[in-house]
Symmetry: C2
Amino acid sequence: MIRANDNYNKLKASYLFSDIAKKVDEYQQKNPGAQIIRLGIGDVTRALVPAVIKGFHQGVDEMANDATFRGYGPEQGYDFLRQTIAKNDFQDRGADISADEIFVSDGAKCDTGNFQELFATDIKLAIPDPVYPVYLDTNVMAGRTGEFEDGRYNGIVYMDCLKENNFLPRLPDESVDLIYLCFPNNPTGSTATKAELKVWVDYAKENKALILFDAAYEAFIREEPLPRSIYEIEGAKEVAVEFRSFSKTAGFTGTRCGFTVVPKECMVFNSKGEKIFLHAMWNRRHTTKFNGVSYPVQKAAQAVYSEEGKVQVKQQIDDYMNNADIIRKTVASLGFDYVGGKNSPYIWVDGKDRDSWDFFDLLLTKAGVVCTPGAGFGKCGRQYIRISAFNSLENVILAMDKLKEALTGRSSAK
Amino acid sequence: MIRANDNYNKLKASYLFSDIAKKVDEYQQKNPGAQIIRLGIGDVTRALVPAVIKGFHQGVDEMANDATFRGYGPEQGYDFLRQTIAKNDFQDRGADISADEIFVSDGAKCDTGNFQELFATDIKLAIPDPVYPVYLDTNVMAGRTGEFEDGRYNGIVYMDCLKENNFLPRLPDESVDLIYLCFPNNPTGSTATKAELKVWVDYAKENKALILFDAAYEAFIREEPLPRSIYEIEGAKEVAVEFRSFSKTAGFTGTRCGFTVVPKECMVFNSKGEKIFLHAMWNRRHTTKFNGVSYPVQKAAQAVYSEEGKVQVKQQIDDYMNNADIIRKTVASLGFDYVGGKNSPYIWVDGKDRDSWDFFDLLLTKAGVVCTPGAGFGKCGRQYIRISAFNSLENVILAMDKLKEALTGRSSAK
């Protein structure tokens, strides 16, 4: 008899963002005339920049002729892209990462979801709360948790990120083996300084732990002393894997490209306590279960780093961050506490006595604004909502006006 | 202490096609002047057809404007593509598959590798030998095998595909839960009739087993009564999942698109013996660990089914099959037994007393022709090589001439 992976039973029925999409669709169907502004899922709205479009088209053109056609590429990505990434994102910032430590993929969701396959089933995990649900859900599927009880899975060390600790995870009291960190954080938008990350790197070294560092939002960091990569911290290469994405950096959510950095000295241990290098393991996983990213997409990604590409992409991020400013000011003017929005496209708003799904429903039905209910990111998010800056300036202004009206009965529209 | 997934230790050091690429590179470096013709990895060589290029460019153009830009798409694929696939590949051939049973992905390698995640670890697997190595390797990683001994993993039921059984797997003597089948077969090129597949569907129903059916090469079927999909067999929807790819059908090896069909009635069982529907499980997996295929790539895939696309793609496949004819005739004229090449781009050549890696080395060093050593596909392949028809007509003619010369000392070149 073919038996199912019973761990799937432990999962809540569906993925957060699918739930939200469904709720919004239902509302739209019931209210066909209603204008809905989406500041929820965290999806970019602006077109790919001209430099990227040019690179993308060039890649497609090369596929049109036998002489320049590309079949299977290297599973790890083309060298032209790996070199470009290593230089621009790491070496130029003093992080000693080489091209062959970069594994190009179709996005950070896949990589952060798949990476746990390299570890034993009975390791101890530390996961922030609130956080991007993929870290947790993929470990549930793999059998690394007990049942879901009172909003949490048994067996996981949750690191509460609340106002009192500035939304930064604290070192766990009990010993853990695998630590997920995400800075700038999704959903709170909080960031960590070099000194704060150093604490984690030191912990990992002392405890033979490993850090999975999600830096998908690094392009939104405005305050220059903040680290953009964990490899800006001395010693991190032995104990940290980093995930990056072009999704938010360059509007690739529908184009699909990201990468994972696995330094050659990064290690785990076998059951005898002997060192095993993760680079070889991830390489084996990547070559066995993945066949590389579409060639024209890799050409498009390379163009992000061209002179024009850099300027154009920076402008787009500046525009989104201008939206973030508007959102921050609005929620502050309405008397809400918030965090984020300064080095991150997300604003994490404290709804106080409101349940986050109720707050979500209120904003959807009264303002036509879609946010993300904090509960979807964990128990510590139950009184928060996440508002995303990814939309046009016009829509953000309109959404903030509708939000004001819904919550105060007053409109700032002239 | 962060411990590794020890199952990775059981794997042979690297993936077959990476090994071959390395050997070829080494030979090329030692012999920089040598012409090498690649009939090994099974990678297409011909440009994407004009209709596909047009769809691809259109998709990129839509990404260039805010008004038509696409961010995150449905993880399962856009409805325009799922509808097109369901109609053309299934409904038009009498297989009752609907659009929402199609899960679009970045390729069949990922899907055939990932699908095993849905099952319990201690199920019993039946895998043909020889076969595409991904089925086996991904189950080794997941801990469904014992150690590798004498060319085989303990705990797997290998289904020998040899000359005496016409290279078709036989029903296993012991009860199995999960059965991998691949027709037209990679690497042997053998096919199964409807009656032959019916035996497997009946077996699966009687034994509450599940079939994972890899139909990546269906477009190469020339003999019309042969089924192209397992869903042409009555009752298959309850017991079979099917994998498809645009890689070989339309030259997408470097473009990346495929799909998996999970019928809504297809089921597995929980530990209590209760039915669980795979459609919901795969949907949960797909939405949690995958973020959809690049929008322009989906537009390119849709164009495969346009009127011009169909004609152009068929011509390309006809050309490859003409190459297959030439290869078949050459190996026959040299006195080798072979199978395949009639409804498949692969010719499986019996080297008789030659070890397959020796045969590979001989053809590489004496003829400059890259084939795939049969041993890479399993123990039953140890005296075979796989020759692929994916190359230009000129290269195939030249390769066959060099092969003749290397093996007989005579050349047919004028």
